[in-house]
Every structure is written in structure tokens, then in C-alpha cells.
């Protein structure tokens, strides 16, 4: 059989920024035959807005979200151009100075003015161009990252129109509306999630499905290296046609990306595509695989299994190369291989037949002391443990065990070996399931009330309060005692449990079916925050957005201990929020309430005497 070269593998490698021909990353350099056209909610929203009388549509978000790609596809759909023509127009006529008219013979009547990239102009010049764009009938599309957009719209030459845009932009964060009047639309792509949607409909799922589909891998069918090829193995692991478990694996990858987004990291489509190209290929091309198959000791392929690549770089890539893949700097923080969960570990290490034998990604090179050439990790770690006779041998054995166990834990995570409830614990968030319960609206009333009680206990712990028994009432200490951990503090306010609520972010902004231009309808959306709402004694609501990290911190605190250095920022943020509410409440009497050793007491001042008693 021949050693084939699959053009699709070479195309995937062109997504990697350390490859000399990484042309796939930028829309401007792509060619039609290569392009991956993912249909996003944002694309549909922009088209609908343009059709229904929008004056200006601002596409904002970090570099790599696909702003230029979106513009190109809007030119195709709105003005009737072909892909190549649209790409030419993007390169030549989208600096905001020209108006793009429909293609001759097209039935559409609209016109577009596109600012492809605000970074090409000084803020003052860009502001003037924006002001000028308000004079004609064309729909203006502005692409800019958030910081640049703010700089342009508040520059010295910004006038009324820019001010109006800025106001719409800033209010979109508070009211959650992509448009207030149907004229000015803000599509904030930083809200766009690569993990939105279920049943394989997320952007990530669709990209993976496209890249692992059978037709693209046809040339591998008769390749001599097929059985020893880690790239082909990754494709099999992630293609539902090849293995049924691929559906679960993709769901776990989706959860991985969603978790990263929920701790505050914005994943752009470019980041995602680069990461997927990387975890499928490991930076290897077909000839690399052929060469390594001939020269390397058996068992090298496990390092290129997609679930290992996501968290640990193989020895063929340097740190500098990997630094250019932003997502790969973040994913190791969530490495399930580093988290010991007894229930899982006992199964993967001691229980046989969790994984079937002979899988390429579970074959590890045997230690030098072993007679075998390969160790099959499906059998656990028994074969690694030998009889080390010195420190060096012990260290080697420990390394081998660690490597195998970590790989097995990762595989157990992506294969869903454990209970679904353990998924977030795998990723380092023991209370992540509670977070998901809120954002997916899966909690019934008793569960929600109990969770609220735990959150209140966490808020008490953060304020240095300890109660002898759990209380459903939220006690707010005077801000002066916010950093004290002695257990004694003056109480500024008591908030009853009914006035503490946990919402998911989009609910705070109203139901998307009822609110026009709801931000949820403008992008592929997942709820990344839980809103802690506290209604004070004057019936004023105070909201604090909790990302997964802060939420986890509060529930860890509720359990009795939180590492204060690690969560310093989160603790400060929560304490500041509570401090502001505490400060806004006024004393209602001369009696001073305090907490000491978990019990309420009062201080009464009577002339020149002071008395302390139980509350």
C-alpha cells in the first residue's frame, strides 16, 4: 500500500499560526475551494437588520470573531455577489469611503457602506468618516474591536452621531438590547459563543463535523500508515460515523469551551478553528507521520491523541510555537488529567475493560525494564509498576504512571465514563454543576432555595461571619469589618432570603421572545454569568455578575474554606459589592446589632453607659 498525503490534513495545518503558509486564518487570503462557511446567528441578525431599515450595524469584538468574514457573506447575500467577487470587494472597497451597490441584475435594492477595520485609521479620521456616513441611504456596517470603537466614538472629532452610537453601545451592556430603536444595531461578537446550542449545533460541533466528514479523509483509506496514524485516529475518535462515542466526545469538548468562556475567556472563531486544527493534527503533516512511524519507538502516537494535545504539548512543538495558539494557553488550566476523582480513578486504574484493548491512543511505550514493547493503558497501570532499585528508576516509574493516569483521566472525561454531574469537577469546578443548574434553568424551587442558602453562607464567610447554624437571612456587616476574620462585626443590614435571588444573565434582561432586539437573538449565545440580585431595605435591586470562578469561590466559602490568595480578586469584588449595599442602608435606631461567635447581639447606649445583650 502507498504512503498517501491527504490534502485535507495540509489544509488543517494551514490553520496553525506556526505553519509557514497559515493562510487559512485570515479571510482576505482564503480561496473559495477552501473556505469554511459557518452560519452564525450574527450573520442572520445582520441580514435581517439590513433588510428592515437599519441605518448602521456595528460589529464589535476581538480580532478573530469573523467580522470580515461576516461582511463578505453579507455582501454575497444582501447585494447578490459571488464569493470571489465579494472577497475582492472586501479587499478593495470596504474602507468606508465607497458605497457598495447591488450586483447588476440582482433583485435587491439596498446598498452597503462597510468599514472593514477601524484600526486602519486614526481615531479622529475614523470619527469623521462615521459622521459623514450618516448622510446617505446606504446601510453602514462598522467593524471594530471594542477598545478601538470606544476610542473612535469618543475622539475629539466625534459629534452627535458618534455620541448616539456610543450611547447605544454602552447601553447594550446594561439593558441587553442589540438595538433600542431599530436604526442603530450593536452586534457584540464578544458575546458570541463557540459552544452555544445543543445536539451538535454549536459552531464548534459544526466545524468539527465538517472537518471529520468522510469525503475529506477518503485518501487515507488505502494509506499504508492508516493504522499507525494519530491524525486518522483523532478523526475516528471525533467522527460519529466512525465511532458512536464521538457524539459524547464532542459534547465534552463543547463543555470544555463553554467552561472557558464562563470563566471570562473570550474564544473567537479563529481561536477555535486554530485549536481544532491543532488537536486533530498536533501540527503533524502526512509525511511527518510516515517518517515518525518508521523511526520512532512504538507508542509515540498517544501524545497526539486529541484529548492529550488539548492539555499537553507533544515534544515536536516548542513552547514558543504553542504560544501562538491562544486557546492552548488557557485549556491546560482545565486539564481533567490533573484532578483525582476517586470514583473515576478506581475505575480506570483497577477495573478492566473500561476501554477496549488495542486502541492506538492508549498504547504507551513500555519502560526499559519491561520485556514488552508496548503497554496498553486499557489494562490500567499494573504493567508499568516494576521493581525500581534506585531513585532514578523510581522517578522514571512515577513519571510513567503519572503520564498514563493523566491520559486515562482525560480519556475518561471525553468518553463520559463517570456521572455527568462529575463533569465540572473533572474540570476543576466542584460547584460547577450548580452554576449550570442555574443557567440552564434546571433547578426546581426546593433546589433553588437550598442553593440560595449555600450562597448566603458563602457571602457570610467572605465577610468573616460564622454562624453556629445555617441561616437563610443574609447578614451584611459594616464595610469597616469587611476584611476582618475574627468573627465579630457590626451588622449594617439583614436581608431576608426572598430578597436574594440568583438569575441567569439573559433572564435579567427579559425573555428573548418578548424583548425586541434581545442580545440573545443577535449572536450564538450562552449564559456566562449568574446574576446575584440583592434587594435592599429600600427595595432597590443591586446586581453582581458572577462568572463561574466567582460562583465557585462563593460556594467553596460556603463549604468552610476558600483559598484567599488564589481568589483574592473575586473575594474583593464580592466584598466591595456587599459593602456598597451595607453602606447604603441607614441605622434605624440607636441599637447596634452585631455578630459575635455566630450569635446575634445588640449594643444599647443609654446616656453614658453601654450594655450588650442577646438580640
Amino acid at each position: 500500500m502507498p504512503e498517501n498525503k491527504n490534502p485535507h490534513v495540509y489544509r488543517l495545518v494551514r490553520f496553525l499560526p506556526f505553519d509557514p503558509s497559515h493562510d487559512q486564518i485570515y479571510e482576505e487570503y482564503q480561496v473559495t475551494s477552501d473556505s469554511l462557511n459557518l452560519e452564525t446567528v450574527a450573520f442572520r441578525y445582520v441580514l435581517d437588520a439590513a433588510d428592515s431599515g437599519a441605518r448602521v450595524i456595528v460589529l464589535t469584538g476581538d480580532a478573530g470573531h469573523g467580522k470580515t468574514h461576516l461582511c463578505r457573506r453579507v455582501i454575497e447575500s444582501f447585494l447578490g455577489y459571488g464569493e470571489e467577487e465579494a472577497r475582492r470587494l472586501i479587499n478593495e472597497a470596504c474602507d468606508g469611503r465607497q458605497i457598495l451597490h447591488p450586483k447588476d441584475g440582482s433583485t435587491t435594492a439596498g446598498a452597503l457602506r462597510i468599514f472593514k477595520d477601524f484600526s486602519e485609521f486614526a481615531p479622529e479620521i475614523a470619527a469623521e468618516l462615521v459622521e459623514d456616513s450618516n448622510t446617505d441611504e446606504a446601510v453602514t456596517i462598522i467593524c471594530a474591536n471594542e477598545g478601538r470603537l470606544r476610542a473612535v466614538l469618543s475622539s475629539s472629532r466625534a459629534r452627535q452621531y458618534c455620541a448616539e452610537l456610543l450611547k447605544s453601545f454602552e447601553s447594550s451592556f446594561d439593558d441587553g438590547k442589540a438595538s433600542r430603536d431599530g436604526r442603530i444595531h450593536i452586534v457584540n461578537l464578544n458575546h458570541q459563543s463557540t459552544a452555544a446550542g445543543s445536539d451538535g449545533q454549536s459552531l464548534g460541533d459544526r466545524a468539527l463535523r465538517d472537518w471529520t466528514s468522510g469525503t475529506r479523509w477518503r485518501s487515507c483509506a488505502d494509506c499504508d500508515a492508516r493504522e499507525a496514524c494519530p491524525i486518522n485516529r483523532n478523526r475516528e475518535l471525533l467522527s460519529e460515523r466512525a465511532e458512536e462515542a464521538a457524539i459524547t466526545r464532542k459534547a465534552k469538548l463543547r463543555l470544555l469551551l463553554a467552561t472557558l468562556e464562563r470563566i471570562g475567556y473570550v474564544i473567537t472563531i479563529r481561536d477555535m478553528l486554530m485549536a481544532f486544527a491543532y488537536i486533530l493534527t498536533g501540527g503533524l503533516k502526512c509525511e511527518d507521520v510516515h517518517r515518525m512511524r518508521r523511526r520512532r519507538k512504538k507508542g509515540w502516537q498517544q501524545a497526539y491523541a486529541f484529548y492529550n494535545l488539548a492539555f499537553v504539548a507533544p515534544d515536536t512543538l516548542s513552547k514558543e510555537q504553542l504560544k501562538r495558539l491562544p486557546l492552548m494557553q488557557q485549556l491546560p488550566k482545565l486539564d481533567p488529567g490533573r484532578r483525582a476523582i476517586r470514583e473515576i480513578d478506581e475505575r480506570i486504574v483497577n477495573q478492566q475493560e473500561i476501554f477496549s484493548h488495542g486502541q492506538l491512543d492508549l498504547q504507551f511505550p513500555a519502560p526499559a525494564t519491561s520485556d514488552e514493547e508496548l503497554i496498553d493503558a486499557a489494562d490500567g497501570i499494573d504493567e508499568i509498576i516494576g521493581d525500581p532499585r534506585n531513585k532514578k528508576q523510581r522517578a522514571i516509574e512515577a513519571d510513567n504512571v503519572t503520564r498514563v493516569v493523566r491520559a486515562l483521566r482525560r480519556r475518561a472525561y471525553v468518553d463520559g465514563i463517570g456521572n455527568d454531574a462529575l463533569d465540572m469537577a473533572h474540570l476543576g469546578f466542584p460547584y460547577g454543576a450548580d452554576f449550570l443548574g442555574i443557567v440552564h434553568d434546571q433547578l426546581d424551587v426546593p433546589a433553588r432555595t437550598l442553593l440560595k442558602k449555600r450562597v448566603i453562607a458563602g457571602l457570610h464567610h467572605i465577610q468573616g461571619l460564622q454562624f453556629s447554624e445555617q441561616t437563610p437571612t443574609l447578614h451584611l456587616v459594616d464595610p469597616a469589618f469587611g476584611r476582618s476574620m475574627s468573627g465579630t462585626a457590626i451588622l449594617a443590614a439583614r436581608i431576608k432570603s426572598a430578597n436574594v435571588d440568583l438569575l441567569w444573565l439573559s433572564k435579567k434582561w427579559g425573555k428573548s421572545e418578548e424583548v425586541r432586539h434581545h442580545v440573545k437573538e443577535s449572536v450564538d449565545w450562552i449564559d456566562r454569568h449568574v446574576v446575584l440580585r440583592i434587594v435592599d431595605q429600600r427595595d432597590e435591586p443591586h446586581d453582581l455578575l458572577l462568572d463561574l470562578m466567582t460562583f465557585d469561590c462563593i460556594l467553596r466559602a460556603a463549604a468552610g474554606h476558600v483559598p484567599t490568595k488564589f481568589y483574592e480578586h473575586d473575594i474583593r469584588r464580592v466584598a466591595r459589592f456587599l459593602g456598597r449595599i451595607a453602606q447604603s442602608t441607614k441605622a434605624t435606631s440607636d441599637q447596634i446589632n452585631l455578630i459575635k461567635d455566630g450569635r446575634s447581639q445588640t449594643i444599647s447606649i443609654d446616656g453614658s453607659t453601654i450594655q450588650v445583650g442577646a438580640a
Binding site: 476581538d62 480580532a63 484600526s119 474591536n145 471594542e146 477598545g147 478601538r148 470606544r150 476610542a151 459594616d478 464595610p479 469597616a480 469589618f481 469587611g482 476582618s484 475574627s486 465579630t488 462585626a489 457590626i490 451588622l491 449594617a492 483574592e568 480578586h569 474583593r572 469584588r573 466591595r576 459589592f577 459593602g579 456598597r580 453602606q583 447604603s584 441607614k586 441605622a587 440607636d590 447596634i592 446589632n593 452585631l594 459575635k596 447581639q601 449594643i603 447606649i605 453614658s608 453607659t609 453601654i610 450594655q611 450588650v612
Partner: protein, 447 residues
């Protein structure tokens, strides 16, 4: 820290009784400090005490105006001896106020003790329980502000122990502001600083404790403040602008603003001490190298060396001004620098080998003092325009290039240092990263 002077020694030391009729007489530390820096900077008064002293002048003045004009100021000093002795004095059991005020209720006494202990102003060097005269309350509410006091011959005397003149200098600078508009805004800001806590339970309790404590019956003239000099250079405007900015932060809680006022006063004093010491030696300005923890041993050594140079310059300036000065007095002026910097998170530690860095509290305080409440500032501009141009702190490549530090240390080390600072500020919620190219410094993001 050294034990407090006896009052006679102190008065002599601060130069109040000195009849300087012989020109050859060796001047004492406070006089030299006043000549070099405008006010008395002393190791015993290092740390958080300058901020506490400033708030005493602002809120315990004789009139309504927090920043009165005129040559002299009168203040009504509070001792808070009742609260402080209750917490930190084992001989309080013999105090008649146990019966008169606490009605001999041991449980009440213990509760109040626990409560008030939480309000203690941090003593960075203190490992053991302090004497009551050494312990102060943090000025969370207006009635908690108090002066130094001690017990002598069976009675409480309100007198300077740790409030030696750093705060008086800051006060003088604020009230001598030639920019009347700014002066008025700062006045208004100070009037509003405690407005949110006027009716708070803590204020009610602090007010009661103050009523049980010794205070001046009549306002007294403060001679140290009178002898302090302001308007010596433009760097004082940096301090005034910072205080104004802190007071105008509408979003921040009063506790955050009070912490920032105290921290900013301390930071400015040490930066000023460095500048004026160099100036008196005829040296050009040179930045302070801050190591933000990017892990470069070269930068760490440079920062450690920089601290030694700063301390050396202060000693040099003192000796230049008064060659015969006693080494103990000289070292007290020198040690004010490191002790104040360390207590306020501008040095890595109180003990051991030290280098310049920023704690989260210090970063938050600098942002409160330099970034307007409404608008943010790009991180790159913050590092160059605020940290380097305004405060003289070298963190990033721009500062290193402008100051010539790149001749001795590779520029990439400063780039990594700047990136590390950005990471810390992002983690502290003081910087929002919009994209690779746009990072905005703003305190609003922290809330």
C-alpha cells in the same frame, strides 16, 4: 520599632525649644528633615501614620473648614483612650469606667473588646500584642479619628508619639494650594468623604467611645504644622491632583476612599523623599525600578540595587545638609522611606532583602488617585504617562528607554515586566482587556 521618645526629648528633637544662638550647633534630625523635605519624616512615624495624621488635621480642626487658610491651625485632639485601653491595656481592669460605663459587665467588655480589636490600624512590624499607646484605630468613620496619647503620672496625656509630621506636611500642601479651584474641590471632597457613614452604627459606637475618652478641652495650635513648608516644587501638585481624584470617585465606598487617601499620602511622601534627596545632592531625576514579578533575576537585582541607591541618596542628602548629625537620627530619616513603602505595598516585604513592587492594594490606590472616575485610560498610557512621567516609576519598555535603563538591562525584560503588571491588574479587576491591542485601566471594572 524604637520606643517612643520621652516628651522632653521629643520636644527638643522636633526643635521647638531650640534657641539656636550658636551657629556651630549640630541640628537634629527633624530640623534637617524639614530643610530637605519640607516636613518631619521619621522612622517612628512611618507606615500608615502620615495618613492618620492628615485626617486628624482635616477633621479635628477648630473650625468647619477642613482645609483652613492662615499660618497656624488649631485642632482638637482626641485620645480614644477608653476604647484603646479597653482593648490593649491589661491594667484597664482598674479603670473606674469599667463600672461607670460598662456597669462591670465582663461579657459586654469582652464583646466590645473583640469588636474594637477588628478596627486596629495595621502595624506591619508588630508580631506581639502592642501597648495601647502603640495601637490606633483605623479611621473608618469620622469619630474613629484620633491622636496619639499615653498615660503619664496616672493621667492621660494627648501628645505626639507616632504622628510626627508627615501628615502635617501633606495637610500643609493641601491647604496651601495656589490653585483655588482645586483647593475648593478638595475641601468639598473631604466634607463629603464621611457623609455616607454619618448615621452608621459604627459611627454611633465610635462617637460614644470618643465621649468617654480624653480630648482637648480647647483647640490647640499645632507647631509642627506651622513650621512645615509647602509649595517647594511642582511634585506637590501630583499629590493634590491625586487626593482630588480619590475624593471625586463617586462609585467607590468611603472605606475604599479613606484607604486610598492614606495610601496615596504615604506613597507620595516616599516618592517626594527620593526626589528631594536627589535634588539636594544635585542629581538628575532617575526612576525607581519596579519588579512586577515576571521572574527576571536581572530586574530583581536592579530593583534591589535601586532601593539601596535611594536609601543611600537620602543618607547622603542628610549628611550633606548636616555633616555632624548623629547616625541614629540619620537612619531614622532614611528608614522612613523603606518602612512607609513596605507598609503600603510598595516594597515586597517588611523584613529581608527588599525590592520595589506593587501590592494589589497599592495598585488600587494608584488607580483611584490617577484615573478619573468617569473615563478609563489605555494601559500603555497608564504605564508611561502615570507611572513613569508623573510618579517616576519604571515598569515598561517605554520608561526604560526614556530613562536609559535599556543600556544596562535588556528591553525585553521590561516588556515582560509590563505584561506581568497588566496580568496582575486584570486579575485585580483594574484593567479590562478588550483585545490584544486595547487594554483600559479603570476602577469601574473592579466593581
Amino acid at each position: 520599632m524604637a520606643a517612643p521618645f520621652k516628651s522632653v526629648q521629643l520636644e527638643a528633637a522636633i526643635g521647638l525649644n531650640m534657641q539656636d544662638d550658636t551657629t556651630e550647633k549640630v541640628r537634629k534630625g527633624p530640623e534637617v528633615s524639614r530643610e530637605l523635605f519640607g516636613g518631619v519624616l521619621d522612622f517612628d512615624a512611618a507606615g500608615h501614620y502620615p495618613g492618620l495624621e492628615l485626617l486628624n488635621f482635616v477633621y479635628c480642626g477648630a473650625g468647619e473648614d477642613p482645609l483652613p487658610a492662615g499660618d497656624t491651625v488649631k485642632i482638637t485632639r482626641r485620645s480614644h483612650d477608653f476604647g484603646r485601653r479597653l482593648v490593649w491595656d491589661s491594667s484597664f481592669k482598674d479603670d473606674p469606667r469599667r463600672h461607670n460605663v460598662l456597669l462591670d459587665d465582663a461579657a459586654a467588655e469582652e464583646t466590645l473588646r473583640e469588636l474594637l480589636r477588628c478596627l486596629q490600624l495595621d502595624i506591619p512590624s508588630g508580631a506581639k500584642e502592642p501597648k495601647w499607646s502603640r495601637a490606633h484605630f483605623f479611621p473608618y468613620t469620622q469619630s474613629l479619628i484620633h491622636w496619639d496619647a499615653r498615660e503619664r503620672y496616672g493621667s492621660i496625656r494627648v501628645e505626639r508619639l507616632y504622628l510626627r509630621g508627615g501628615g502635617a506636611l501633606a495637610f500643609k500642601i493641601l491647604r496651601s494650594d495656589p490653585d483655588t479651584m482645586r483647593l475648593e474641590c478638595i475641601r468639598e471632597g473631604f466634607k463629603l468623604l464621611y457623609s455616607a457613614t454619618v448615621e452608621s452604627p459604627l459611627e454611633i459606637l465610635a462617637g460614644f467611645i470618643n465621649e468617654q475618652s480624653k480630648t482637648d478641652e480647647q483647640p490647640v495650635v499645632d507647631d509642627i504644622e506651622k513650621a512645615t513648608q509647602a509649595n517647594l516644587d511642582d511634585f506637590e501638585n501630583v499629590y493634590r491632583d491625586g487626593i482630588l481624584n480619590i475624593l471625586q470617585q463617586g462609585d467607590a465606598t468611603s472605606v475604599a476612599k479613606i484607604r486610598a487617601v492614606m495610601g496615596w499620602t504615604a506613597l507620595w511622601l516616599v516618592l517626594m523623599q527620593n526626589r528631594r534627596a536627589r535634588h539636594s545632592l544635585g542629581m538628575a531625576e532617575s526612576p525607581i525600578i519596579c519588579d512586577c514579578g515576571a521572574g527576571s533575576p536581572q530586574l530583581r537585582r536592579a530593583s534591589q540595587r535601586c532601593l539601596q541607591q535611594v536609601l543611600g541618596n537620602i543618607v547622603g542628602a542628610v549628611v550633606h545638609a548636616e555633616p555632624g548629625i548623629a547616625s541614629a537620627q540619620r537612619n531614622k530619616i532614611r528608614s522612613f522611606f523603606w518602612a512607609t513603602a513596605a507598609a503600603n505595598g510598595f516594597l515586597n516585604a517588611w523584613r529581608g532583602r527588599k525590592h520595589f513592587t506593587f501590592s494589589v492594594d497599592a495598585l488600587e490606590m494608584i488607580v483611584l488617585a490617577t484615573i478619573p472616575a468617569v473615563h478609563g485610560m489605555p494601559f500603555e498610557r497608564f504605564v508611561t504617562e502615570v507611572l513613569y512621567d508623573r510618579l517616576g516609576l519604571a515598569v515598561g519598555r517605554g520608561a526604560a528607554e526614556a530613562s536609559g535603563l535599556v543600556n544596562s538591562i535588556d528591553a525585553s525584560i521590561f516588556e515582560e515586566n509590563e505584561a506581568q503588571l497588566a496580568l496582575q491588574m486584570i486579575a485585580a479587576g483594574l484593567v479590562t482587556q478588550y483585545s490584544d491591542a486595547t487594554r483600559m485601566v479603570s476602577r469601574r471594572t473592579a466593581s
